[in-house]
């Protein structure tokens, strides 16, 4: 998950009534036109993403050490870099940490988001609007500003969180340093990511909930269903498609958390114990100049993303064909 900023998709709403007319293509124009129109986009994609991917594949199969930095031609070493990187315990520690972090964050985010959506449905419209505005505030915060604010909230000396904890009786938190231990470090990182990501989940699920027809709820109530039954038997099954898509997106986005960790590490965290996959790549490449190793891990991350994204892409393609 990078910046949690989403521009909407009123386009998708518009798309549905119009699928019929677009299905009849124009035939009068020369067939070259669409290719010409695609050319700039394809060119910039090849340059900005295609070439880097190609470079990483090649580099990950080569010896690319200090000697190559000074101009010696690289030598082909097959899968040696992969064997070297994936044979080290360092990488697996990072992979396991990233997966654990990603799953915890994704499930907590979706859980809280669902709870918020249900809450918004249940409360008075004025309170609903207040909730929506506050969620939008959190959603709109630029990521770097958000992390900076959380560093201030959790500052060991004058941070308001430590002050509050001391006030309610946890005197052990006087001057407590949250960022110097991996566990509390990741706790704060999780708070930031959940805080930033819940708005998207909550508003998406809430939009899903509003689509449930009132007649169905009315009918259920007449048949004697209580609130708990309505929730479990009607609302949850009807928002399940939305829930599974946002969960999948959160998993994909939380697997790529890099900037938040990097920015929190500035507060003096033990770097090697708090690195996630992106940070590991950054340290290998920019820090240790081990470009072959960094390329090998990058390819692994890209493949993982493609595999995880497949169900999401398939659901979008279905919409496209429709």
């Amino acid at each position: 998950m990078t910046t949690p900023v989403t521009a909407g998709s009123t386009g998708a709403d518009l798309a549905h009534p119009a699928t019929a007319p677009t299905a009849t293509p124009r035939r009068r124009r020369t067939p070259a036109t669409p290719y010409l129109l695609l050319a700039p986009a394809v060119a910039v994609l090849l340059l900005g993403m295609g070439y880097p991917v190609y470079w990483q594949i090649i580099t990950s199969l080569q010896e690319y050490g200090l000697a190559q930095q000074f101009g010696q031609p690289p030598t082909f070493v097959g899968l040696d870099n992969y064997a070297r990187i994936f044979g080290s315990a360092d990488l697996w520690a990072v992979v396991l940490r990233s997966i654990a972090f990603c799953l915890v964050n994704a499930f907590v985010t979706v859980g809280i988001g669902l709870a918020f959506a249900l809450l918004m449905r249940a409360v008075h419209p004025a309170i609903k609007v207040a909730l929506q505005v506050c969620l939008l505030l959190a959603w709109a915060m630029p990521m770097v500003a958000a992390v900076t604010v959380f560093r201030w909230l959790f500052d060991y000396r004058t941070g308001v969180v430590n002050w509050l904890l001391v006030q309610v009786g946890f005197t052990g938190y006087e001057g407590y340093s949250w960022f110097s231990q991996p566990l509390t470090f990741f706790f704060v990182a999780t708070l930031i990511i959940v805080w930033m990501s819940v708005p998207f989940v909550a508003l998406s699920v809430f939009a899903g909930l509003t689509q449930v027809p009132d007649e169905i709820l009315e009918a259920a109530r007449i048949d004697g269903a209580g609130p708990a039954q309505i929730l479990r038997r009607i609302l949850l099954p009807m928002v399940r498609p939305v829930l599974s898509i946002v969960l999948l997106l959160q998993i994909i986005w939380d697997l790529r958390v890099f900037a938040q960790i990097r920015l929190l590490q500035d507060a003096g965290a033990p770097v090697s114990q708090t690195n996630l996959l992106g940070n590991f790549i950054y340290e290998l490449g920019v820090g240790r100049q081990d470009f072959a190793g960094a390329a090998a891990v990058s390819i692994f991350v890209l493949l993982l993303t493609v595999v995880l994204s497949a169900p999401y892409v398939r659901s979008l393609m279905k919409e496209e064909v429709a």
Binding site: V5, G8, P25, Q132, M141, T305
Partner: protein, 294 residues
Amino acid sequence: MSALTASAVRPRTAAGRRRRASRWALGALGLVTALVWAFPVYWMMLSAVTPQAWLRATTPQFLPVHATASNFQAVLDGHSFWTALRMSLSITGVAVAAVLVFAFFAALAISRWRFRGRKGFVLAVLFVQMLPAEGLFIAQYKMLSSAQLLNTVIGVSVLYTAAIVPFTVWMLRGFVAGIPAELEEAAMVDGLSRTRAFLRITFPLLAPGLVAAGVYAFLQAWNEFTVALVALPAESAQTLPLWLRGFLAASANRGVDWGQVMAASTLIALPVIVFFMIVQGRMTSGLVSGAVKG
């Protein structure tokens, strides 16, 4: 059946009171949650207008009773903010313009024509928009450094354009598909040329879509941190997010002046928040339909 009638007929007062109580409880819960969620933003703005002496006090102030603009003044007096602002504006400007033109052309192609390779392109666009910057930035760094384009506006703009174009194509495709080609054809029957029909009929209808896509591209480019971190290593070439990080680090050397750091954060966040609030109706309307990216 009997249970149902029993519960429906039972004295209204007890059940009604219970229901009203639970409504109140839920309302209170909603209000508290809203306040908790907004608190970090409030705290940022409050600290930004609070003098350093009060921020260092043992008991924090929760209301702006000693408001001052001195923190903002201190931040704006430094040259670094203005350099970073200029850099951010240039990169965002170039990227948004390029994204809009490229994505609009591509969206036009895939929604108005059926041609060989179309499905492949759409599939590629959808996968590419999911690729994380963290899986590409080492190669992008090497690419820019060997092309002597590190620390330049054009280098980062190319990377941003490539990163933002895929989702924008997908978004605009929906808008273009929403405008029936028949409208344009009808105008041509009435005597307009194809170009004029497009400019007079289709283009105005597309304006909301282009605005939405432009806003999306702006927010992405303006807030971006990861690619900027590797592509703009020089201090003189920092964008605003990098500058904020540097500002905090510099302040940390002399025991962080949180008032100034929060003023700096507010300067970055406030325009984005205002902008976001203005366009949010557009953002929340069609979220479920799949065309989303965070």
